[in-house]
Each structure stands twice: as C-alpha cells, then as structure tokens.
C-alpha cells in the first residue's frame, strides 16, 4: 500500500488525458500506463537491479500464464495481430523503462536504477529461447498437470517471498551473484510490490482454466487485468471475466457519471486513508513498542481499538481510491468492504471484510475442499468437514499476509470462530426465527452478537499487529488484566 497523494493526483491527471482519447486508443492506453505504473510504484530495493527485475518478472509471469491458459491447447489459432503487437509493445516498454538510468539524477522517475537495456534484451532473449523449449516440452504433458504445476510454482514463489528464512536465503543468493554484502541480506530486500495480488489473480485464471470456467481473452486484456494500476498495490482482486467485460465496454458509462462516481469514491478514500487512518497511526494505534510500553488496561484497549479502526480506514480507504480511479478509467472494480465492524456475526464480518480476498478463498479453497471431503469414503462428519474447510481457508488467508506463526494463529483464530458461529447459528436458528415478531428482543440479540463479533475480531488483531507469539500472548494477558 504505497500509493501516496502525489500518485493519486498523477493517476487522476492521466484520467483527464484518457477522457480526451479516441475510444479505440483507450484499452492500449490502460495497458501502457499499467505497465509503466508498476515500475514507477515499485519501491527501492537494497538488492542490485531487484526492483526492476521483480516487476519485469511480474510481466513475464503474466505472459506465461496467459500463454498457459489461452494458447497451450491443441486447437489454438495462430497468434492474433493484436497479441503480437502487444508482445512488441511490452518489450518496448520494458526497454523504455531502462532509459530512466540515462536521465539526469534530478529528473529520474524511478526510485531505483534499472539495468542497461543491452543486458535486459540479452536476458529477455535468453528467457524467450528457454520458454520456447519449455513450451515444446509442456505440450507433451497432460494439460491439467501443467496448470497445476503453474499454480504450485506461484505458491513456491510466494513462500520464497513471505517466509522470512526463505526470503533471506534468496536475498543472500542474489547478493552473492551481484557482488553485494551477503551479511546484510534480509527479507525486506525482496520487497516485490503487488505480487500477493498478482499471484492470486494468476492462480484464479489458472484454476478457472482447469475447471473450464475461464473465458477467452486477448493478451492486452489479460495483461491489463493482472497489472491494472489502481488495484495493483492493494486490490481489490477482481475476476478476469468481469474485468474483461468492462474493458470491452469502456464507454458504456457516460464520462460525467464516471467522474462523479469516481471522484466521490476517491474523495472518501483520501479522507479515510490520509485523515482518519494516518491520524490513528500517530500514537493511537497498537504497535509492538506501545504494546510493551502500555501500563494501563484501559489505555491498551484504546490502542487496540485504534489499531482496528486504523486498519479498516487505511485498507478500505485504499480500496475506495482504487475503485474511484478505476471508475475514472471506465472499470468498475468490485467492492472490498461493506461496514464490516457493524456485523453481528463472524460469517457476515468475513462477507464484508476484504471481500475479494474472502471470495477468492471461498472459490478456490473452501468450496473445492468441502466438496472433496464430501466425496471421501468413508465420508467424514459434517462437523469435521466444516472445521477442516474453515481452518484451511482462514489459514491460507493468514499465510497470504505473511508466513509467520502470528499470521497462522490469526488465521486459525478466525477459522475456529467461523466454525463455532456456524454451529451456534445452526442450533439457535429456530429460536432466532421466533424473534421476528419481537423487534426489541431481536435488536438486543443483534447488539449482543455485534459486541461479541467486534471484540472477537479486535482481539484477533493482536496476533495480526504484533510480530511474535510471546508478545501477542503477553498483550492479550494485559488486556484481560492478568499481566499488567
């Protein structure tokens, strides 16, 4: 989440240019800006050439996934002209970005120094040759296995990035190859902007291709979907078929309406992020340091509430900005938050918190896993199936944030919570129905539900916010008044 006010302003200015463009140029404009934006948004990395290389790798992974999902079939037609032109355009843009190193220091656009164009060309040529050889081999393998292998490869990359020992090992290797100080290798060296979201978009297309749900799309549509700049750093995680539908009807919504809706969402997002969340971040929010420093239970609770609201306003603010910017460019990105802290049960909370991630996990973890367990013989009990599916789904969501013990526990915390709520809801459903004609009691019941849900979520944030298990335990004990 690194987009600042200046970035938002630049994107809004680009939307003005976009509005003046002839409609047929607009998809290409979106593609070009998206590719350039990912290089511009990528922060500086301590590893030599890593910043440029990681975003280039994002593009190459995107190309590979498109080829696997759209081209690696026996009856694929010859490469269309616009796909060939897009390949050339992407190559040109990757080389164009390297020219930033030739600009005077004061006017450079990137926060890092890209490698020389010659090297990039050489490496890309080598990659192309290897890819052709690999493609030749892959055509001989069962298609389903190839797609599974691609998904697993993305998971492996994800683990290498998010698991600190693995990330340190990769950073060490990189440093040794580029002649940098190996002793300084750290997980933060591999700050690959946007990869968490890119990986989930790519896995979605690979899995949908496997199940036959993926629609056909062109290379420029696919690349724009994966790299779409408003949603690149912090989501939402759109679905390909919905996104491509918007791209193919970019002018369906009148410009004034787009600007009215988009401008309002951006204004709301800016207020949430830069006024509320950033204010809460300054001393009104739980951190590893303040958790240890806190000397009063009430003060610690205040910091925890502050953290909970900061997280919501920060993330939902970014989502609003992304959705607003998307609207300016004619793309209606999916909603990501629907007043989650007002929900009266944990299931509703997860249907309204980071909705696109929850949906992704439901589509690709919960549902297939539940179905698979249902088909097992002997079939496990419903409770075992549900518990396994909830725990697995929430574990993946936890690990998506980082492969650490605290994220694992946070995921399990919510998995258990969802399971318990489901059991509770099943057992109280009949009684709750009897409250339909007792509005007072129904409201009181909702209030109790809200109070429990909100505090279950808020206490869960202790695992999310703090870096180690002992500190989180100590903080929870302090909150309960047993360790101040």
């Amino acid at each position: 989440m690194s987009a600042g006010l200046a970035t938002v302003a630049i994107f809004a200015a680009l939307a003005i240019v976009y509005a003046w463009l002839p409609p047929r140029w607009r998809p290409t404009f979106l593609l070009i800006v998206s590719v350039l934006a990912i290089y511009a948004l990528q922060p500086f990395s301590n590893l030599r050439f890593a910043a440029y290389s990681l975003q280039t790798l994002t593009i190459l992974l995107t190309l590979a996934t498109w080829w696997l999902t759209q081209r690696l079939v026996a009856d694929a037609p010859p490469l269309a002209r616009q796909d060939r032109l897009t390949l050339l355009l992407l190559l040109g843009l990757m080389l164009l970005v390297t020219s930033d190193r030739l600009l005077p220091v004061t006017v450079r656009l990137l926060p890092y120094r890209p490698p020389q164009a010659g090297w990039v060309l050489l490496i890309l040529a080598g990659t192309a040759v290897l890819s052709l050889l690999l493609a030749h081999r892959l055509r001989r393998l069962p298609y389903r296995h190839v797609l599974t292998g691609a998904m697993l490869s993305l998971v492996v990359i994800f683990v290498l990035l998010k698991w600190p020992p693995a990330a340190t090992a990769v950073a060490t290797l990189w440093r040794s190859l580029t002649g940098e100080q190996v002793a300084l290798a750290a997980p933060s060296d591999l700050a690959w902007l946007g990869f968490s979201y890119v990986a989930f978009r790519l896995i979605h297309t690979l899995r949908d291709r496997q199940t036959g749900l993926l629609p056909a799309c062109t290379l420029p549509e696919f690349v724009t979907y994966v790299l779409f700049f408003p949603a690149y750093t912090a989501g939402p995680i759109d679905r390909l078929e919905r996104f491509v539908g918007d791209v193919r009807a970019l002018d369906a919504v009148p410009t004034a309406t787009r600007w009215g809706q988009g401008g309002w969402r951006i204004a709301v997002g800016l207020f949430k992020k830069f006024v509320i969340a950033d204010s809460l971040a300054l001393g009104l929010s739980l951190t590893a340091v303040s958790a240890q420093q806190a000397t009063s239970i009430a003060g610690l609770w205040l910091l925890l509430y502050g953290y909970a609201f900061r997280l919501y306003f920060d993330f939902s603010g970014y989502s609003d900005i992304a959705i607003g910017l998307g609207l300016l460019f004619g793309i209606r990105l999916p909603e990501n938050f629907r007043a989650p802290y007002l929900k009266s049960n944990l299931t509703s909370f997860w249907q309204s918190w980071h909705i696109t991630l929850s949906d992704w996990a439901r589509f690709y973890i919960f549902t297939p896993l539940s179905r698979s367990l249902l088909r097992r013989k002997p079939r496990p009990s419903n409770e075992i199936i549900l518990l396994t599916a909830h725990l697995s789904t929430m574990l993946v969501i936890g690990l998506w944030h980082g492969i650490t013990a605290n994220f694992v526990i946070w995921g399990l915390w919510h998995g258990v919570g969802l399971f318990v709520h489901k059991q509770w809801a099943d057992r109280t459903r009949r009684w709750v129905r009897t409250l339909a004609d007792k509005p007072g009691q129904k409201q009181a019941w909702s209030l109790v539900g809200w109070f429990i849900t909100f505090h279950y979520v808020v206490l869960g944030w202790v695992w999310f916010a703090l870096p180690t298990v002992p500190l989180a335990w100590q903080t929870l004990a302090k909150l309960m008044g047993t360790a101040v």
Partner: protein, 383 residues
C-alpha cells in the same frame, strides 16, 4: 451514500465543484477572522480525556516519543498537568529551565520535578509542594520569560529558575522558532520590560491575512490536533520521550580551545555581556511570587585540556567570570540565588555538560529541597 448507481451530468458536477469552492473560501475567511492559535490552543483534551503531561510537549519523532514540538504556547501549557485546577492544599512550584530541567534522556519520574515530587514536601501550614516541570530544551532566558508569562495564569506560589551560562548568551535569546512564532508576545515582553533585544528581528513571523486562513494555518492546526491525539498513547504508556539504549556521552577530553560562543580567546566579561535583564524581567514579572534563581550543575572534566575548559561548552575563563557576575548581580538586585554548579559528580552527566542522570537529579533535588524549605517555610517530610 451509495453512488454506484447514481448518474451525473457535467452541469451537476460543475455545480458541486462551484459550491465546494465557495464553501471552502467561506470557511477559510471565517477561520482567518474568528480563530487564532491563541484561541483554539486553549482547547485541550488533556486534563479532561487524557491526563495532563508531566512536561511540555517536545519531540521530533512523534511515532516513537508520542510527543511533538509545536509553537502554540497556550496549547503547550494546556496539555501540561499544570493546567489542572489548583487544589486548596497545594503549594505550586514551577521549575523553569532548559533541557536539563525538561529531563533529556530521562523518564518523568527521574527528572528534577519528578524527584522533588517523590519527596512529598510540605509547608509548615500543611500545604503540599507540587513541582511542575516547565523546562524546555532551548538555552534561552527569553524563552523562559515567554513560558513564565503564560504560566503565571496557573497560580504558582514559587518559581525555581535554573540557568546556565549559555542560557544567558545574548545571541541565544531570540534564537528559536518558539520565539519567532510568538512574535506579538515576545515583542510585548521586549517593550514592557525594556529588554535589550531587537523587536524588529527579521526572524519574527508576522502572519499575513492569508496565512491566518485554514489553509495558511494548516501546519499549526495539524500540530495542535496531533498533540491532542498523542494523548492517547501518553495515557496508555506514560511515555513522552524516546530514550535510546545507547548515546554518545559528554566529551571529557578537549582540543586546545578557549572559545565560547563567538569569542575565540579569553576576554574580560561584564554584566552587559550577559542577558541579566531577562532575569530581572522574570523576577519583576513574577511580582509577589518568590523566585529562586539557581545556577544549574555542570560537568567538570578532569580530562585532556581540562585546565582550559570545564567541559565542551564552557571554557574556564568565561564560566568563572559568569559565576562571579551572576552572584554580584543577584546580590545587587536582592535575588534569591543558589550556585550549584559543582554539586554533581562527573559520572552523573549523560550526553551533554548539563544533562543529569537520575542519580544526578536526586542530588540536585535534595539540595534544592533543603534550600526551598526556608524559602517556603516548609519542612522535609515522609522520606
């Protein structure tokens, strides 16, 4: 507001933009005419929602120290626990001074005010002495005057004013944004007490009308708001300063160098070379409230070239003359004066020649307590 299905026309959007612009201009004009830092600065969540701070707000890294520097004097004082209503049995003692009094590198309980408060001193009439830390990390008596001017509204019974040579250096008197951004108050002090300072100093900030609008005041307003919100962390943690685990200790060995401020070698100093009029103004401003002037302890080195310098700040020739001149001036004006320059052993100084450790402050507090007792007709108690 659900905007996802709303349709708009350019005409509607233009009307919205126009109304927004008009509202923006109107609010700015209203703010410029009705609100001043003086007025909104007195509004504070401290001593209401959050406990008052033990020392004045100061800090460059709010995220770590839960504190920040700002130039709004009323807001600074309103965030201090001094702004609480005075109890009937309370005897208020204000401690004025620099970063040594503020408590650089020390938690509040180890500062001079903290140590004095832990002594539970009482007057003979039963009133308990409560010490308020009004130290501020600037070496300038003008800054102390500015703070005293605001603090007198909080009914002090005694003022203990700790000074050191550099705080009397004429060049230091107007050398801080706190004074520049409170230009009308500083100018008024210069005029009222005929201080030998330039009321037309180019660094004084006189805001234009536009700088008094909401947009013009945005930084000052943001600082005031941040001070209020940092109260939550202050309330939860009691932390108001980032104290590093390690720091560079004050120097013990020196080059062959006898310079002090802009003066390169030893010269005779006269009372006119030091800012004694500031001290006189402070005593006059305090009126009936007694003022105890204290020459605060300094680090006295026995290292290389310590025959030339007491420490990194003070050559012996300048400091010795300063002590003589201060004692003479205090006697001439009948000020209550205490010279504690050599009270604290060298190992009880931290990163500068005036910053004390907790033990150093305890020594100073003990000495001050003994000296304050006759001043206030009180006695030591509850030790």
């Amino acid at each position: 507001m659900n905007t996802s299905t709303q349709t708009y026309t350019w005409r509607f959007l233009l009307r919205v933009l126009l109304k927004t612009a008009l509202l923006f201009v109107a609010i700015n004009l209203l703010f410029a005419t009705a609100a001043t830092p003086e007025s909104y600065g007195r509004l504070s969540l401290y001593n209401r929602l959050w406990p008052g701070r033990d020392r004045l707000p100061y800090g460059e890294n709010p995220a770590e120290s839960y504190n920040l520097s700002l130039n709004n004097l009323p807001a600074m004082l309103a965030s201090h626990r001094l702004a609480q209503p005075k109890a009937a049995d309370e005897f208020r003692v204000l401690l004025l001074g620099d970063s040594a009094v503020w408590g650089w590198l020390l938690p509040n309980e180890d500062t001079l005010a903290g140590q004095l408060n832990q002594m539970n001193l009482r007057r003979a009439d039963g009133r308990s002495l409560t010490f308020y830390n009004l130290g501020y990390p600037i070496l300038s008596l003008s800054k102390d005057l500015l703070l005293l001017d605001e603090a007198l509204a909080y009914q002090p019974d005694l003022i203990v004013w700790l000074v050191t040579l550099d705080s009397l250096a004429p060049a230091q008197q107007l050398n801080h944004p706190l004074l520049w951004h409170n230009a009308p108050r500083t100018r008024e002090l210069i005029q009222t007490f005929q201080l030998p300072l330039d009321a037309a100093d180019g660094r004084f900030v006189t805001p234009t009308f536009w700088q008094q609008t909401l947009v013009g005041q945005r930084q000052a307003l943001a600082n005031w708001l941040r001070l209020q919100q940092l109260g939550a962390a202050w309330q939860a943690t009691g932390v108001d300063q980032f104290i590093p685990a390690e720091f560079t200790p004050r120097a013990t060995d020196f080059e062959v160098d006898e310079s002090w401020q802009e003066i390169a070698t030893a010269v005779p100093l006269t009372a006119a070379d030091l800012a004694f009029p500031m001290l006189a103004a402070g005593v006059q401003m305090a009126g009936d409230v007694p003022v105890l002037i204290v020459n605060e302890p300094i680090f006295v080195s026995d290292g290389q070239n310590s025959d030339l310098r007491y420490n990194a700040w003070y050559p012996r020739w300048a400091y010795d003359q300063y002590r003589e001149l201060l004692a003479e001036t205090a006697a001439a004006h009948h000020w209550t004066y205490l010279d504690l320059w050599h009270l604290v052993p060298g190992e009880q100084f931290t990163d500068s020649p005036v910053h004390l450790t907790a033990v150093g402050n305890q020594l100073l507090a003990n000495e001050l307590a003994d000296s304050i007792a006759p001043e206030t007709s009180s006695f030591r108690g509850n030790e």
